[in-house]
Each structure stands twice: as structure tokens, then as C-alpha cells.
């Protein structure tokens, strides 16, 4: 299915990442957003609020982030594609409802424009320290998808992907931006609507009397029902059976929670999104994501110019983490170098996947700016020894 032309601002623009993300939501078909303003993410919904009256849809500025993160789920069950936008402190407040979205399999998008933390931290400066929170922030076992754009163009492109993936897998999808990418202005090309692929919501074809709202298809994802067409269904955060009714049995819990994770397996393995370069002959592989991947690219170029065989592994889907690909690489490279704007988060996943087969060297940074490429270069040089 192609994008609804009403939401697509086809053309060549000079936009910052936040505004490009907003255009991505509109192109993806989002017609409902709820948010509570917070630097450095506010521009996304600011633009949405000014654009949506002409496109046709609703923006509500809620009383807080808890309200925003639940309002979007109501909108989804009523038939809309919906999202909310925030930064670290607000992301913390949304955790409860991210768990609800995971448990009720509500397809929705959370945009987190990361700034330095913890707590109020550095409101106007970049960080990448919400990466583990995105994966593990709510209680219980569940899976989510997290995407990491490194340019305004990708803020547009990946936002569309985020909505598409949320519909395909029925999970909350996190757009893990950062202040640098969000506030950076570059050329953004928005294609014609018929060049933009949109994953429609998958609605049941069964008649109302046969429909069971949490009966999974073969791909472990259940179909949804259109509200107002005679389908009766019950949505709950309690452990529920295929009919959607609370069922506290050990068997139901096991079946449901295992499925919430297992349905993401295709994305964890073969279909993980990443960008790689020079892995064939690499001694050292730099694993990075978001804005750091651009700075890392510079460091890789510098290393190559010095004759060091450095390769690039850029995570676009940080979650599910592409553990198999890292494990496979670990068997044939000397070391991984992992720069990130936190004191060591995704590097733990690299270590876990490498499982001692290759050295794993973190290049941590508490946030507030990006790495100096020389710092990453030094780590590459050290790792290649």
C-alpha cells in the first residue's frame, strides 16, 4: 500500500531531524499524536500540531507524559496510527504504558530524542543513554523494536519504517534519536506518495462470532478488529488468553509472554537493519549507532588511511539486537570498538554476542557533545595491535 498523498510533503527540503521525523509520521499515515513538550523533542509535535489541521487528524497536548503515552493507545484501538514524542525524563514516565502497549500488542511509535541524563541532565545537549531503558524500562518480559537514525533524512525514512514495523509485529517501536540529530538541519528528500510503502493495519477477515482478538497467525502476530463493525473484544494488561479475557494460569502466562518475545525473532536475526562496510577484511569492527555512527565513520576513514583494516557495523535496529551477526563476526575479527554517548550500554550486548571470541573495547562518553573522532581512532589503533 502507498502513502496517503494528504500527508506527504513531496519535495527537497532543508529540515532538522525533529521536523523530518514529523514529516515521517505524516507520510506514514499517523493522524493522531499526543505529547507533552520537552526539549529537545518538542519541535516534532509542534510541527505536527501546525500541519495536522490541513491533513486531517488530531494533536492533543496532554497534561503529562503518562497521559500522552496512553492517549495514543486509545487512538490506535479506535483505528488511528498514533505516536508520542519525548526525551529522557518524559520517557521515564512513559515506561508503564510502554509495557501496556507491549502486553496488549498495540502498534504505536514512541519518539525519544535523547539528551544527557540521568534526571533533568543536559536538556539541550545530546546523549544516547536511554538505549537500555528503551529495551528494559517497563517491568516484565516483552520485546520492542528500536531504530537509530543518524541524519534528518533518516529521521524521515526510519519514522515511516517505525510505523510499518509496529503494524507488522504489533509492538511499540522506539525512534531513538538524539539532540544532535534532532536539531541538525540537512537536505531531506521526501518522495512522491506512490514511492512510499506503507504497511496497513492487518484486520481480521473472520466474522465477529469467530474472531478471537489474541489468536496469533502463523507469524505469531494476531489480527486486529475494526472498531464499530460489530466485533466485541476486551483489551487488558492482565495476562489474557486468545479471547482477550484475563486468565492467570501458568500455561497462559507462559504461552503469551513467550510469544510476545518470539514474534520478533525474524527481526532479531535475518531481517535486522544495519549498515556495514569493509567487514570482509576487517581486523577491527566499529559498532555504533545514531549520531555516533557518523563520527565513527570519520574515525574508520582515518584508520583506513593509516593502513588499519577497520570495518563498520552500524546498528539501525538496536533492538532486537542483531546478536547472530555480531557472533559470526566475532569468530573472525580481532576486536570490536564500541563508541556511544553513554558509559557503556549497547557495548554490553556486543560483549554478550561476542562471547569472548573477540576483544570488546568500549569508548564511552557521558554526553553533552559527540566524540572527538581521534578518541575513537585511538581505540581502533589500540585494538588493532
Amino acid at each position: 500500500m502507498h502513502a496517503d498523498p494528504k500527508g506527504v510533503l513531496t519535495g527537497v527540503h532543508f529540515l532538522d531531524g525533529d521536523h523530518a521525523c514529523c514529516e515521517g509520521t505524516l507520510a506514514a499515515g499517523a493522524r493522531f499524536a499526543a505529547g507533552y513538550p520537552i526539549t529537545p523533542s518538542t519541535e516534532v509535535v509542534e510541527r505536527f500540531a501546525s500541519r495536522i489541521p490541513t491533513v486531517g487528524g488530531i494533536f492533543i497536548q496532554m497534561e503529562d507524559e503518562l497521559a500522552a503515552s496512553i492517549a495514543i493507545q486509545g487512538a490506535v484501538w479506535a483505528g488511528a496510527k498514533a505516536f508520542t514524542v519525548t526525551s529522557g525524563p518524559g520517557f521515564s514516565l512513559m515506561m508503564e504504558h510502554i509495557g501496556l502497549a507491549a502486553m496488549t500488542e498495540t502498534p504505536c511509535v514512541f519518539v525519544d530524542v535523547q539528551r544527557g541524563g540521568p534526571s533533568t541532565g543536559l536538556p539541550t545537549l545530546p546523549g544516547q543513554a536511554d538505549m537500555m531503558q528503551a529495551r528494559w524500562g517497563s517491568h516484565g518480559d516483552y520485546g520492542i523494536i528500536a531504530l537509530c537514525p543518524n541524519s534528518p533524512q533518516e529521521c524521515f525514512d526510519l519514522t515511516i519504517q517505525a510505523f510499518n514495523l509496529s503494524e507488522e509485529f504489533r509492538v511499540p517501536v522506539m525512534m531513538m534519536m538524539d539532540e544532535c540529530v534532532g536539531h541538525m538541519t540537512e537536505k531531506v528528500v521526501i518522495p512522491e506518495p506512490d514511492q512510499i510503502e506503507i504497511t496497513p493495519r492487518r484486520y481480521t477477515k473472520l466474522p465477529p462470532e469467530e474472531y478471537r482478538p489474541f489468536e496469533p497467525r502463523e507469524d505469531l502476530v494476531p489480527d486486529m478488529a475494526r472498531t464499530g463493525e460489530g466485533y466485541r473484544f476486551h483489551i487488558t494488561g492482565l495476562t489474557h488468553d486468545e479471547r482477550g479475557y484475563p486468565n492467570m494460569s501458568v500455561e497462559t502466562q507462559d504461552r503469551l509472554v513467550r510469544r510476545l518475545l518470539a514474534k520478533l525473532n525474524p527481526l532479531a536475526n535475518g531481517r535486522s537493519l544495519c549498515e556495514t562496510e569493509n567487514l570482509e577484511d576487517a581486523d577491527v569492527v566499529v559498532v555504533s549507532y545514531g549520531i555516533t555512527s557518523r563520527v565513527a565513520q570519520r574515525a574508520i576513514q582515518l584508520a583506513r588511511s593509516r593502513g588499519i583494516r577497520a570495518g563498520k557495523f552500524r546498528l539501525i535496529t538496536a533492538w532486537p539486537f542483531p546478536a547472530e551477526r555480531i557472533r559470526e563476526l566475532a569468530g573472525r575479527v580481532k576486536a570490536f570498538v564500541v563508541p556511544e554517548l553513554n558509559l557503556g550500554q549497547m557495548v554490553l550486548e556486543v560483549e554478550r554476542a561476542a562471547a569472548g571470541q573477540a576483544k570488546v573495547i568500549p569508548v564511552s562518553h557521558a554526553g553533552g557533545t559527540v566524540h572527538n573522532p581521534d578518541t575513537i581512532l585511538n581505540a581502533i589503533v589500540e585494538a588493532a595491535r
Binding site: 527537497v12 532543508f14 541538525m184 538541519t185 540537512e186 537536505k187 557518523r294
Partner: protein
């Protein structure tokens, strides 16, 4: 366009500093087939009346997003000059609103160009277009970008009703700059540190 040129535009809030930087970036990235990355100060330093933006222009994708030592510094306030002039790259270009900025000592090797942009804008009837006068002047003295690309970027960055005025402002700044460069060349001072032209 050169492989990599780093530019900082700075002044007071309200002078259109960010728009000036955006026009330069847009000209390079959209109308001249190159790459441009613009970032701006968002922190407490962006409050209290000062405003500053950084643009990187390149013929290749830009990886590192920030500017530490610009090749070109465009200043529209004394404070911006005092704060950012020491960061200019050796051999760099300083462009100043000459009636708002008093230039004291500059390290040798820095080329300095002054323009009475506010006055030129007032001659057009609207002081607010001083930023676009500065962009025109920047275009003429740096010769970094195709003037047509800059003109298109100006037209594309302002509301339709303001296009004519802004294009006039651009042309006025550009002509002032072109004349200045020509005069300096006749005096044989091209490529040398020059003092500002104070008489238009």
C-alpha cells in the same frame, strides 16, 4: 564548492542569524548539489540575546557535525565578534556588520571584510533584511557558492510576500561585496589582510 568549508554566523537574537545560516546551507545542499549540515546553539548560551549557527559545506557527505574553528565567521554584533573571532582558522575570513562591530586587533593572515548591512537594509525600507544583505555580501566576498544558488535559496526561505524585498537585499549586499573586492584588487591588496572599507 570546496571539499570542506566551515562557517559560523553569529549576532543578536532577532537579526535573522539562523535564517542567514539556513540560506547558505540550503544553497549548497539543494541548489548546488553539495552537502550542508547546519547546527545551532540551543543551550543557555542561546539565551540572553545572542544567537549563533554553524554551517558546514562540503562536496562529500559530512560526518562530524560541529564546527570548532571556522574558515568563515560572519558577525553581526560586538559580543559575537569578541566571542568567536579568536576561534577563526588561520587564513580565515571575517565578515562583519561594520557599524555594529568594532574590529580591534586581528591575527595576521585573517582577511576582514566589512559591510554596513543595517544601513543598506534601511535604505530598502526594512531593517529586518540586514541578514540577507549579509548573505549577499558573504556570497560576493567568499565566492564559495554560485550566486544563483544563493538567490534561489533566499527566495525559497522567505514568505512569498517578502521575496522581492529579500532578493533586493541580497543583490544590494552582493553588489556592495563585489565592488569592495574589485576595489581591493585594484589596490593590489587581494589575498592580504585588509582593513575594512568604511565608505560606501
Amino acid at each position: 564548492m570546496q571539499l570542506l568549508t566551515e562557517i559560523r554566523v553569529a549576532g543578536f537574537g532577532g537579526q535573522g542569524v539562523i535564517l542567514a545560516a539556513a540560506v547558505i546551507g540550503k544553497a549548497a545542499a539543494i541548489y548546488q548539489g553539495g552537502y550542508a549540515t547546519m547546527t545551532q546553539a540551543f543551550g543557555p548560551e542561546a539565551r540572553g540575546g545572542s544567537s549563533s549557527a554553524q554551517v558546514i559545506l562540503s562536496t562529500e557527505p559530512i560526518l562530524y557535525p560541529y564546527v570548532a574553528h571556522p574558515d568563515v565567521l560572519v558577525v553581526m554584533s560586538q559580543e559575537a565578534y569578541t566571542r568567536f573571532a579568536p576561534q577563526l582558522k588561520p587564513g580565515g575570513i571575517l565578515i562583519a556588520e561594520q557599524e555594529l562591530v568594532h574590529i580591534d586587533k586581528m591575527p595576521s593572515g585573517i582577511r576582514v571584510y566589512g559591510v554596513p548591512a543595517t544601513r543598506l537594509a534601511e535604505e530598502l525600507g526594512r531593517k529586518v533584511v540586514l541578514n540577507i544583505v549579509m548573505v549577499g555580501f558573504f556570497g560576493a566576498v567568499t565566492n564559495l557558492l554560485d550566486p544563483d544558488a544563493l538567490r534561489k535559496a533566499v527566495a525559497d526561505s522567505v514568505p512569498p510576500a517578502m521575496q522581492k524585498l529579500n532578493l533586493q537585499a541580497f543583490d544590494k549586499g552582493f553588489e556592495y561585496g563585489a565592488t569592495l573586492v574589485h576595489t581591493l584588487a585594484e589596490k593590489g591588496e587581494e589575498g592580504h589582510p585588509v582593513s575594512m572599507e568604511t565608505e560606501s
